[in-house]
């Protein structure tokens, strides 16, 4: 029994310490995996040989594994640990249900394991940070509901009437992540391991980046702000500087953040009004973000001298500072003219890592060093090692960020350098080889961060090992009295947690609807029949497109010629929304480690692609692209094509019944044509029915649409 009542009307209860403990341990383990994967793929970009000629070791397949493990496994488990640990204390109640806690913990670990298996196998939706296929998406939704019920159950059973600001941030995160995940993951399955999103092209891009940026907002920011508002005062032993400021911080952040997604699509085929809206709201976001940072840093007043000695405070101060810096850099990068330089470059990668490694990572380390000794009822094994960890991690991050800034700005400037109508660096690979030395620095920075992490693991292992079993502490608090409505203002609002939740939902939904709905409706106004090249993919091209997605080509190649002169000079006619109308999912990409491919069709003969996929350096000396020998061994799966076409048809792609029933033979015929073409260009190897043929067919399909005619 976890609670009892005494004569003095106090209820005596214990907290569930096991669930936070499990989540903290999972955080430590998965953090190591995420960082190891990060250092490995960073090294692959410096030394392409590390792709090992193995399909499941290529950068394109491992990069999603790194991002998913860093966000959902490392940062995710830390959120759950911190939320369960702090909410029990702030609400003065035990976690709602032990059974739900178990479902939550083991369910989430199962999701991570499934991600770790499926992503290297190439089972992916091809949407960044939402790569997991539909059965895992459903599992995520179920586990998230378990978490939500557990959390709202705690609120319902609380003994503290008013909800501290940390609880608001948790609440907003839980609600909004559920909304984002469900809306972005709506897809029609083709098989257990393959589905297509219901959105297409520009629609899909907007929904995806509405999700993608708000995953940063409501998974990597708001829960961590909640953790900051709890653990920073605890560690400093002083109340937060301004509670008033925290209220403004919360509401402004929740309302503004949801609108900012389109800044990932500036100068693209997204309607201009949506781009501008995204930019403006991103700039506005600076105010509440810095309000939060200032609130955090001013909480340190009178305690700054302790930062010199205490590693926990070092990590906290650095984390909040990184929050401030990355929320300054984010709005800066959202300004269209800055974005024109920075987008698709490593500057963005540096920005993301200052957030995740600096803000989230340092906040997690501070919490771990603070909580582990308390939960295991012992002392930290070594403060000295924790200080060493801090300086190694800080050096690692700075090397990482500076190298990525330098690489990004260098490459961005080289892409845009023009003399009259001509590009100064017309060969893309020239702009890549120039930044490879910076990739060595980045990999070393990542290695330092990982090495510091290993020291932390050792420190925490020794701390836990030194602990002894202890009786659970018993806490006392009066039960929650009947709620009266004589309280005014925000105090009244906090007492009504259901109303509070509704207001959060409204704040989030307003921005989402205004921004997304017009784009969802806009497809009606496109006229694809007017554009000669905009027609559904042939069955073989569709098979090739799925191979392109499976191999994670989008992690290095964009398919979006921006409206910028130098993009047009390099790649050809700018992209239009109409040309993506049958793209489920869109493949705009977010980084150009290789050139844009939107206009690659017809640019080279089939044999160029053949040899390029077999050994990229044979065609492009200096390239860091992996080799793909498995595409020359593996056969095209013809039998699933009819089903794929049928699913596409259900989503509005105009395939006829005849084209669906002849999908296999049509694909075989087209593959034979590509094979013939390769033979005529001197390819001697037998590649009948091999996947390389489908990929070539798809790449040759990527062309500028013909002129629009107004018939």
């Amino acid at each position: 029994m976890s609670q009892s009542k005494s004569k003095d009307n106090l209820e005596h209860f214990t907290y569930d310490e096991e669930t936070p403990k499990l989540f903290f341990l999972a955080t430590i383990i998965w953090g190591a995996v995420a960082l190891l994967a990060g250092v490995f793929i960073a090294s692959q970009l410096a030394f392409w040989q590390l792709n090992f000629k193995l399909p499941w070791f290529t950068f394109g397949r491992l990069r999603p594994l790194h991002t998913n493990s860093a966000i959902f496994a490392f940062a995710g488990n830390a959120i759950f640990a911190g939320v369960y640990h702090s909410s029990q204390r702030l609400l003065k109640t035990r976690i709602f249900s032990d059974a739900l806690s178990k479902i939550h913990f083991w369910g989430w670990q199962l999701i991570i394991v499934l991600a770790a298996i499926t992503l290297p196998l190439g089972i992916t939706t091809g949407k960044e940070y939402a790569e997991l296929e539909w059965p895992i998406d459903i599992l995520i939704a179920v586990v998230w509901v378990a978490f939500a019920v557990n959390f709202f159950g705690m609120i319902a059973r609380r003994r503290e009437r008013h909800l501290y600001v940390a609880i608001w941030f948790y609440l907003a995160s839980i609600i909004t992540v559920a909304l984002l995940h469900i809306v972005n993951s709506i897809a029609l399955p083709v098989s257990l391991f393959k589905s297509y999103p219901v959105y297409a092209g520009v629609q899909d891009a907007l929904v995806q980046w509405w999700y993608g940026h708000n995953a940063v907002a409501f998974f990597l920011t708001t829960p961590y702000l909640g953790l900051m508002y709890y653990y920073l005062p605890k560690a400093v032993n002083r109340p937060i500087y301004s509670y008033r400021l925290s209220i403004i911080h919360f509401w402004a952040l929740v309302f503004i953040y949801i609108w900012t997604g389109p800044h990932h699509l500036l100068h693209s085929a997204l309607p201009d009004w949506a781009q501008t809206l995204g930019m403006i709201f991103s700039i506005m976001l600076l105010a509440p973000s810095w309000g939060g940072m200032i609130n955090g840093l001013l909480t340190m007043r009178g305690a700054w001298h302790r930062v010199r000695k205490e590693p926990i405070l070092k990590f906290l101060v650095a984390a909040v500072t990184f929050y401030g810096m990355s929320t300054f850099e984010g709005p800066l990068l959202s300004i269209k003219s800055v974005n024109a330089l920075a987008h698709f470059t490593d500057w963005i990668i540096g920005h993301v890592h200052s957030g995740v490694l600096g803000w989230n990572g340092f906040m997690i380390f501070a919490i771990l060093y603070y909580v582990v000794p308390k939960l295991w009822k012992t002392e930290l094994y070594s403060e000295k090692l924790a200080n060493v960890h801090f300086w190694m991690a800080m050096s690692g991050i700075l090397l990482y960020i500076f190298s990525m800034w330098a690489a990004g700005i260098t490459q961005g400037l080289m892409w845009r350098a023009m003399e009259g109508p001509r590009l100064v660096y017309p060969d893309f690979v020239e702009t890549l080889t120039k930044i490879i030395p910076l990739y060595y620095v980045r990999a070393f920075g990542g290695f330092l961060y990982l090495a510091g992490y290993v020291i932390m693991m050792y420190n925490i292992f020794k701390t836990i090992k030194a602990s002894k079993p202890a009786e659970p502490e018993v806490y006392s608090a009066p039960p929650l009295g009947k709620f009266t409505t004589d309280k005014q203002g925000h105090r009244y609002l906090e007492g009504l947690s259901a109303l509070f939740t509704v207001l959060v939902v409204i704040a989030v939904i307003v921005g989402s609807v205004i921004e997304i709905l017009p784009t969802l409706l806009a497809h009606k106004y496109y006229a694809p029949e007017k554009i000669e090249n905009v027609k559904p993919y042939t069955p073989l091209e569709l098979a090739g497109r799925d191979i392109y997605i499976r191999e994670g080509c989008y992690t290095c190649h964009s398919q979006m010629v921006r409206t910028l002169t130098y993009d047009i000079a390099r790649y050809g006619e700018m992209s239009r929304p109409e040309e993506f109308i049958y793209d489920h999912p869109f493949q705009f990409g977010s980084r150009r480690i290789g050139p844009d491919l939107a206009r690659v069709g017809g640019k080279y003969p089939d044999s160029w692609h053949y040899y390029h996929m077999y050994d990229p350096r044979q065609i492009t000396p200096g390239s860091t692209m992996p080799v793909y020998p498995h595409l020359f061994r593996k056969k095209i799966d013809y039998h699933i094509l009819a089903k794929k076409l049928l699913v596409m048809k259900r989503m509005g792609v105009p395939y006829s019944e005849a084209s669906i029933s002849s999908a296999i033979s049509d694909a075989q015929d087209q593959a034979a044509q590509v094979e013939e073409s390769l033979k005529s260009q001197g390819v001697k190897e037998k590649v009948r029915d091999k996947e390389i043929l489908a990929l070539i067919a798809y790449l040759q399909r990527l062309k500028a649409p013909a002129e629009v005619t107004d018939k």
Binding site: H162, Y164, P233, N237, P239, Y243, G489, Y525
Partner: protein, 52 residues
């Protein structure tokens, strides 16, 4: 019809109303949150994490 309407949208005053509305709500919220009478309550709220 709808496309034509959207292409020729000139109701800029709606944008202005929206701006004034948003800014007004923000200023109102600011005044409400910073009113002096709520100091006691905010002091109580600030102390919550330090209680356990």
């Amino acid at each position: 019809m709808k496309a034509l309407y959207l292409a020729n949208y000139k109701l800029v005053f709606l944008n202005c109303i929206a701006l004034v509305l948003f800014f007004g709500i923000f200023c109102g919220a600011l005044a409400w949150i910073y009113r002096k009478s709520s100091k006691e309550f905010y002091d109580y709220m600030k102390s919550l994490p330090l209680e356990d």
